[in-house]
């Protein structure tokens, strides 16, 4: 594309196409192509790619769809995201999908997989049980088998048997995708005024709807345009946003945080797009094993992973330091047990590391941001106005303690 603006305008449309028109068009161009929908957080899209498929992220309906039928399926105390998914399923938005993947992230998504089974959606519905045991020969073997089940289902649909070279190629493409995302994130950390998080969010989210080759091109273009010295720095603080790995925040919420005086230098929006912290091994004889090992050993931290051996509080603090952020905003969806049950522990880790934080809850279709804007604005102001004196007081207090 010819300009950053053009990319953003395209992505704005593509990222919220709840009819999945471009993905369906892609599928219709070749009868052997298959379309898979996957729920948050992570799914190794490489295996779909290698089977001439496209794995499309189903991230909920956000604030783009009025929920009528979906509310009849869920009690008021269950998060909002599955209502939009059911609404889309019942409205026929997902009719041309061949299969659905429900990663094991919480009980709500787990039971949603059962609802899809009962509704008879797709040619298969797979609850992908990610192992919580991270030994290669225990959890690894189990996960290998889980992935094989997905591969078998795809094979039943289009008869394509995945060859190692195809899977290796897919791994390379998705490694490239992740590396480009990380490069842009790094650049955005250094020059956050060059692109807003809102605009980058559109670009990132678009990647869940289109073929990876196409998204890589968009990311390369974006990276190139961001090399230019564009935009004006503002007197904003830098924050990391944590807790939004599944139900996505509405765009209005991201805008609100930015308008309240924050540069978001890292977050967990669409975390699955950069789930791997390092490249999956390329060009191996057993690329499926490479994907398995990558999940066991290279995954980022998340509330969906049992973390006793590598606590996520410690990893969040490292992330804040790496991003040179001034504080953390804990923004989790209402009724999200995984995110909300982690919050006290993460906050404690922040307190111990002297990192400032605030928290609030949202749901994907909230429309009122005034209170959040005031809260975030006060947080930003407090850091801008008082950071140095507070640090000095802390140093003084430490000195007094030593005396």
């Amino acid at each position: 594309m010819n300009s950053l603006d053009e990319i953003i305008q395209y992505s704005k449309q593509a990222a919220f196409d709840l009819n999945f028109a471009s993905a369906k068009k892609w599928r219709s161009e070749d009868p052997s192509r298959i379309l898979l929908g996957f729920l948050p957080v992570y799914f190794p899209r490489e295996i779909a790619h290698a089977a001439n498929g496209l794995a499309v992220g189903i991230m909920g309906a956000g604030d783009r769809l009025q929920i009528i039928k979906g509310d009849a399926y869920y009690q008021s105390y269950i998060c909002h995201m599955p209502r939009g998914v059911i609404e889309m399923a019942l409205n026929g938005n997902l009719d041309e999908f061949d299969g659905f993947i429900f990663p094991s992230i919480c009980d709500v998504i787990r039971n949603l997989s059962g609802m899809f089974q009962l509704l008879g959606k797709g040619k298969f519905v797979k609850y992908l049980d990610f192992p919580q045991n991270f030994s290669s020969h225990i959890g690894g073997e189990f996960y290998h088998n889980e992935l094989h089940q997905v591969i078998d289902q795809m094979h039943k649909i289009n008869g394509i048997k995945i060859r190692p070279e195809q899977l290796n190629k897919a791994i390379q493409l998705y490694n490239k995708n992740r590396n480009l995302i990380v490069q842009i994130c790094d650049l955005k950390q250094e020059f956050p005024w060059r692109i807003t998080t809102e605009d980058f969010y559109y670009i990132l989210r678009t990647g869940l709807f289109i073929p990876v080759e196409q998204h890589n091109q968009i990311l390369e273009d974006t990276f190139r345009f961001l090399q230019e010295d564009i935009g004006e720095p503002m007197d904003n603080i830098k924050v990391v946003v944590s807790g939004a790995f599944c139900e996505q925040p509405p765009i209005g919420l991201i805008k609100t945080i930015e308008m309240a005086g924050c540069y978001i230098v890292d977050d967990d929006f669409m975390l699955g797009s950069r789930w791997m912290e390092e490249n999956v091994e390329e060009n191996t004889d057993d690329p499926l094993k490479a994907l398995v090992e990558a999940y066991l050993n290279k995954s980022t931290f998340s509330s969906t992973i049992y973390d006793v051996d590598n606590p996520k509080g410690k990893r969040l603090v490292q992330q804040v330091k790496k991003r040179n952020a001034d504080g953390i905003i804990f923004a989790a969806p209402s009724f999200c047990d995984p995110a909300l049950l982690d919050r006290p522990t993460l906050q404690k880790a922040c307190d111990e590391a002297g990192i400032r934080h605030i928290n609030f809850q949202y749901h994907e279709n909230i429309g009122q941001f005034k209170v959040i804007k005031e809260q975030v604005g006060a947080f930003s102001d407090s850091i801008k106005l008082w950071e140095e004196p507070v640090a000095e007081v802390r140093n003084l207090s430490e000195k007094n303690t030593n005396i």
Partner: protein, 432 residues
């Protein structure tokens, strides 16, 4: 309903003594050197814990007891003050609040700190978060994680069993050996499993007694007491077998005499409605909640909640010949580890086998594992069986979510519907 003092049956006394002994042992564990394992009811590995002579503590049982003892409100408040959201599971918050307040158990004595956190991660994602929180409250404690695969395909595959057996062999048992200082004894485990099998046979027959009219038991409100020993560490003991034998005899005696269930206010003299209930009960107002049913002559002939610690209806029994495989299969067979289709099938079987007049869901705010999908399940059962259905909402141990009048209004409408249906059915019978 006669207003009379209800005499305690022998099985009640047996259970009370068993629990008193367990809590006594727990209170003296640090002195006696017995090691203490914190674990969960669904997918509990009672037999393994017994094989290592360790003592179990069940945080969700502590929470429900706190609820019944009216302590949970303050515990939840304290956990929320410590940063927990109002939205999350109240069992977790109640347990954390209890710990913040000295971890005093139901007997008024302090529960010992855990020597081992045994996370049997079965059918509930929140269990995992719960134990991550506990691990941080007891820094340095040994932790063993047993990941139970979900029955997403409606069956247990050899790969699922193999995954669990490997975890047991390479992670759980070595950790238990380390904590207890004892070697794993497979023969001893097999003997314990033989007792489990006997208890499972008996409890299945006890719950099956609701086929009788009138039903001799209430399989929900009284059922939660019946599942006590088999769920809280006694499964596999001779005591448990004796308890279930005694209970079975008592139930048979009631069947022979044509008696209905015993409630806190005496026997139900007229069984007006037979119900199947899905979902856990509310604990903070347990007796009031129950009275809403027995005052109307409503008897619960089957409930899904009494299957959270194991589903025995389809024939599963622990197998001493294949001890680890059978532990794995047990874990995977717990109710909340079944997929929605299996849950519907099981409820349908209960409705048919026990000739229920209606199906009721008590949807629990705290428990997504149960609650997510219940409205859809209800609609399917209604369509398939043409049975009247009802839906009420409450919580496990958060009294803020128990509204007596709301629940009563809904139940009154539900019972009226059942009454009406009976009248229509009678008229149809006469007409034909």
């Amino acid at each position: 309903m006669p207003d009379k003092q209800v005499a305690k049956e022998q099985s009640m006394i047996l259970q009370k003594n068993m629990l008193a002994r367990l809590f006594k042992e727990l209170s003296t564990a640090k002195g006696t050197g017995k090691k203490v394992v914190y674990t969960f009811v669904p997918g509990n590995l009672s037999e393994l814990i017994l094989a290592f002579d360790m003592l179990p503590v069940y945080p969700e049982i502590n929470a429900l007891q706190s609820g019944m003892r009216k302590k949970s409100r303050d515990f939840i408040r304290d956990a929320e003050k410590a940063g927990h959201s109002e939205d999350v599971c109240t069992y977790v918050k109640c347990d954390i609040g209890m710990m913040l307040n000295g971890n005093i158990g139901p007997t008024g004595e302090k529960l010992p700190d855990p020597d081992l956190l045994l996370l049997s991660y079965t059918g509930c994602f929140t269990f995992m978060k719960w134990f991550e929180n506990l691990e941080r409250l007891y820094p340095g404690v040994q932790v063993a994680m047993l990941h139970t695969p979900y029955q997403e395909g409606g069956k247990i595959t050899p790969e699922m069993v193999q995954y669990m057996v490997k975890q047991l062999k390479e992670e759980v048992i070595p950790k238990m050996e380390k904590v207890s200082g004892k070697k794993f004894d497979q023969t001893k485990l097999a003997e314990i499993l033989e007792n489990s099998r006997k208890s499972q046979d008996l409890i299945t027959q006890i719950f099956d007694s609701t086929k009788n009219k009138p039903s001799p038991i209430d399989a929900y409100f009284a059922g939660v007491y019946y599942i006590g020993p088999i769920n809280v560490g006694f499964r596999g003991t001779v005591e448990a077998v004796e308890y279930y034998q005694e209970l079975y005899n008592e139930v048979q005696n009631r069947v022979e005499k044509g008696l209905g269930p015993v409630t806190p206010e005496g026997e139900i003299e007229e069984e007006r409605f037979r119900l199947v209930v899905e979902g856990p009960p509310n604990w903070t107002h347990f007796r009031e909640f129950w009275s809403l049913f027995y005052n109307m002559g409503a008897v619960i002939v089957a409930s899904s909640y009494t299957k959270v610690g194991g589903v025995y209806d389809w024939g599963f029994r622990h197998n001493p010949q294949k001890p680890l495989e059978s532990l794995a299969e047990y874990c995977m067979n717990c109710y909340t580890n079944l997929n929605l289709t299996q849950r519907i099938d099981l409820l349908e079987k209960c409705i048919k086998d026990y000739q229920a007049d209606g199906f009721l869901i008590n949807s629990i705010k705290s428990c997504n594992s149960f609650s997510a999908g219940q409205l859809f399940m209800m609609r399917i059962l209604e369509d398939k069986l043409g049975i009247p259905v009802g839906f009420i909402e409450s919580d496990l141990v958060d009294p803020r979510y128990f509204s007596y009048s709301n629940i009563k209004n809904r139940l009154d409408s539900f019972f009226q519907m059942l009454d009406q249906r009976k009248i229509i059915q009678k008229q149809q019978e006469i007409a034909t």
